[in-house]
Subunit: 331 residues, 4 copies
Amino acid sequence: MQFLSDNAAPVHPRVWEAMRAADAADTPYDTDALSRELDARFTALFGRECTAMLVATGTAANCLALATMVQPHGGVVCHREAHIEMDECGAPGFYLHGAKLLLAEGAGAKLTADGIAKVLAGITRGVHQVPAQAISITQASEYGLCYRAEELAAIRAIANDHSLGLHMDGARFANAAAFLGGSASEAAGDVDALSFGFVKNGGMGAEAIVFFDTEAAELARWRRKRAGHLQSKGRFLAAQVLAMLEDDLWLDNARAANAAAQIVADGAGDRLVHPAEINESFVRMDAGERAALRDQGFAFYDWDETCVRLVTHWASDHDDAHKLARAIAAL
Amino acid sequence: MQFLSDNAAPVHPRVWEAMRAADAADTPYDTDALSRELDARFTALFGRECTAMLVATGTAANCLALATMVQPHGGVVCHREAHIEMDECGAPGFYLHGAKLLLAEGAGAKLTADGIAKVLAGITRGVHQVPAQAISITQASEYGLCYRAEELAAIRAIANDHSLGLHMDGARFANAAAFLGGSASEAAGDVDALSFGFVKNGGMGAEAIVFFDTEAAELARWRRKRAGHLQSKGRFLAAQVLAMLEDDLWLDNARAANAAAQIVADGAGDRLVHPAEINESFVRMDAGERAALRDQGFAFYDWDETCVRLVTHWASDHDDAHKLARAIAAL
Amino acid sequence: MQFLSDNAAPVHPRVWEAMRAADAADTPYDTDALSRELDARFTALFGRECTAMLVATGTAANCLALATMVQPHGGVVCHREAHIEMDECGAPGFYLHGAKLLLAEGAGAKLTADGIAKVLAGITRGVHQVPAQAISITQASEYGLCYRAEELAAIRAIANDHSLGLHMDGARFANAAAFLGGSASEAAGDVDALSFGFVKNGGMGAEAIVFFDTEAAELARWRRKRAGHLQSKGRFLAAQVLAMLEDDLWLDNARAANAAAQIVADGAGDRLVHPAEINESFVRMDAGERAALRDQGFAFYDWDETCVRLVTHWASDHDDAHKLARAIAAL
Amino acid sequence: MQFLSDNAAPVHPRVWEAMRAADAADTPYDTDALSRELDARFTALFGRECTAMLVATGTAANCLALATMVQPHGGVVCHREAHIEMDECGAPGFYLHGAKLLLAEGAGAKLTADGIAKVLAGITRGVHQVPAQAISITQASEYGLCYRAEELAAIRAIANDHSLGLHMDGARFANAAAFLGGSASEAAGDVDALSFGFVKNGGMGAEAIVFFDTEAAELARWRRKRAGHLQSKGRFLAAQVLAMLEDDLWLDNARAANAAAQIVADGAGDRLVHPAEINESFVRMDAGERAALRDQGFAFYDWDETCVRLVTHWASDHDDAHKLARAIAAL
């Protein structure tokens, strides 16, 4: 019984269908009919004009978005435990040509206006220090916590005060939006660019970068090509994303994943390190307990010495989730 | 009737099948069962030990391969009309951190030992000039011409003499191998790394980088992750490539494409700018003639002022090819 | 008798004096009194507001200037034989993070509006090609030829038409200005940034980047620091440059160098490959003739198989120049 | 009375003399007689074969040294308060093409084998994380503390265990060597490359990178040129450094600076935040006390809210130092 990663989930049947339907030859490099539909669909979803671009991974999405906001000598304020800092093998250093991540603190891997302000306050020595040029937040955070509208507004305000770009890493944006009530627009707040993840949520190999700034999108087109992320058969990526947007499949899938996680979290009770807002539970557990669960056939990730991470996804079996919940409760 | 690009071709049914079969959840980031099969399959194909890695595009494959051979202050000898020079938006400059393409001449966009030697002979002023560190050749070339075994050997020899890495861009490697007699090993010669293309030949979004040098492959793993080209659901890429290798589908598809092109080329006769060795015909044509063909429903790419490019692919309709051949002959 | 390079020349006595006078402790990193004088002095010289920044080498000056105009995915139109292309070990690739030099033709290593237009006309395929973002010209060119006011205006016009930045490499700007009549402003035309050389003309280790665009200058400050080119004892660089500007020493030195070259050129007569406008003569000479001159004690640089380069400088002995002229005439 | 920075100090008379003596024309780009002496002189000083290269700044020295040890996707373990992390505007990100600084802890800004081991222990997730490839330590540290021989040996051991390069930032290496007993070799330990500072210690604009690894030195020559740090009149940099090495001037100057600092430190007594081992004293002081000292004519740098930094140099007036000592004691 897999609770290892939503990256391992299968592809949703409606995504498969859409891909098959895209098989007939069409023109390459995003000049096809499906790719040309993307902007309108995301504009409708967010209720404000935007430009979307697809890439194969969240790492590429994050970095291409940030590259429109940050000069090679600049810096990005992000959380000390953000994915771009911890898990992308220095990809921001590559895509941003040596720009620096400026690490901020915040409970549950969420940035706060205060945490950001503290980092900015330390930048006082002119050309001897890297200037901040953007903020990157993760919705939901590495610990599965969601930014509320007022938190997003406070961060936007500090970004404005310091003329910083604002990027959102939304690898689990759908799960966050589902938790926050289902509005993509509210979950995104007023960011300049959003990495909107689909791969963990029923897609196969397509993530969207949604730009709310036309000029930045224009710039990103060149950078995407230059990074080898403009695919010749882009129609198959577009098909995936359009299927996910159709009839709110993205939201339905996220709700299913969150619901499965809720079952697990209920079993974990006091062991939860963070409230289980989305499809992840971080559960305090010692080595013996972990072994006991694994003996019962549960697979999961050792987050650190104090806790494990249990992840569900759109296709997670709710019976398995109940079994896991009971197994934890019984520890 | 499409003769625009093999990039627009559909995905082969057996590739679809293999992808569907890979749907069941497996572990992410190339730790899945299919991805772990790749090295053995390519080793069997080439008859010498190799390591394979998949990425979404040929641009990424080319650049990640070259990045294992060239330092940021180094240079890559390539043809003045090579894809990496002309069509990748400066991707080598990005992936190689500013390294330089050192442009050589050669008929039909093929490098020759002489053309390479001439470039190397011009590098004499020590640290004031970029030193050559690799050679990149394209099999088949931008004009669809294939390197014969003895040509490859001569280039390998000059690479050895100057301690240069040797890379092969094989976006249409399958078509070249089909033309040269069907041996992957002979078509690749003794290169250090090969970008083995599948997308134009029945795949969807997977190209292989085949490393014949284990250390280089190790290095490339980090660089691939850092470039956002390690996909979490890599099993779907592996499925594509394994299906293409199974029972020589890659070769069958290439043969079909080449055969269709041969039909077109026969119609073109004296108009051919280069012999049609693979699935491309470069055909001399003036503006009026192009318009005449387009009026008859043929779509194709204006290569330059003197000629058009007519491309076939694995699924090209041979009747359409005959129609095109007749239409050209009738011009 | 040295005609090898103006890079080998001694430092002018007035420059030495100014450096000694700067010895008393002052605050570091260009906050000293001398460094703070630079902008005003260059503004007075050019008759329009400008910002100046000093670095140790022309390579750093060229690249930091270009880095304010060109994105990492962009291109710089320059002459096929420009110093930035031929002699800087790929420094533009480093400072511009992989941006590309787009090579244009032109007699005597001078760009023309036509040559530039031809390069620009070849950029038609959207994101598949590197977009031009700047033009770099060299005053005087690698062959010692000077751009006239109308030539500069024509290049400015094409830059404007295509929204390109315009940079001037002025390693021998002083010699060009001396030849053109002595006006710094006329010799610079309407460029956005000028690398104004002093090292070859009586300085020791200070070159100026003169920005006619305040915002670009601001950006360059960060990039200069990041490149390790902000010197803590910048007052010694400022002292050199201020001494060179004082009472037009820069112009007097350049005139002396040009005059010495004129003597040599007169002796070379028909052998001159290019008119000797500044302090360099390119003189046709076979191997035997070169040996004969060297036997007589003349040192110089073999430019290529057809000609040698004879360079004079501010302190060149005019008697030596006459000897060389006679020796060439006697060949 | 200046206690602001040793960067503001005058140039030593013997350095001036040597520079003047280098004025006669010689060949450019480090082919001159003085530059060619450097390797032998440093080899004699360190008692083991080494290759030296000069650049204008410590930032360039540090980064060029590290660039020989670290790949663009790699990391450098350094102290959280190291100069390369805090004060160089992201220069390592530029020179190392996006490589990452991996921050370690340690009292007084000194790394310890334990602190390094802790960072290395956190690197466990393969290609998802930046691999450590080098360690950079600062002799003396940002707080003026010196590594003893056994501390250097322990760090070398951990570097060997993990196949990491070892770099020493020696902006105040002379002061450290003076404190540690006067042996350059002992103060450097067994590092692979040392940035040996001269500018703060009586030089003008020359810092040495000393490579104890020939291959690394060869590589660095290209990178130096590419960074615009190969000066055409390198003989003036060589003259400075040779004069500093002659008759141990570097050591005498450092001793004088350290002695002046000792006077100040004696006055500071309990207020010292760190023992004053070299030419810097970090002295606890509130805002009122700082103002009081400034009213008496003392200039210095506010390190942070708890303390000020008082720096002496080779030419510091010992009477001024006594005055400052008394003034602090009287607070």
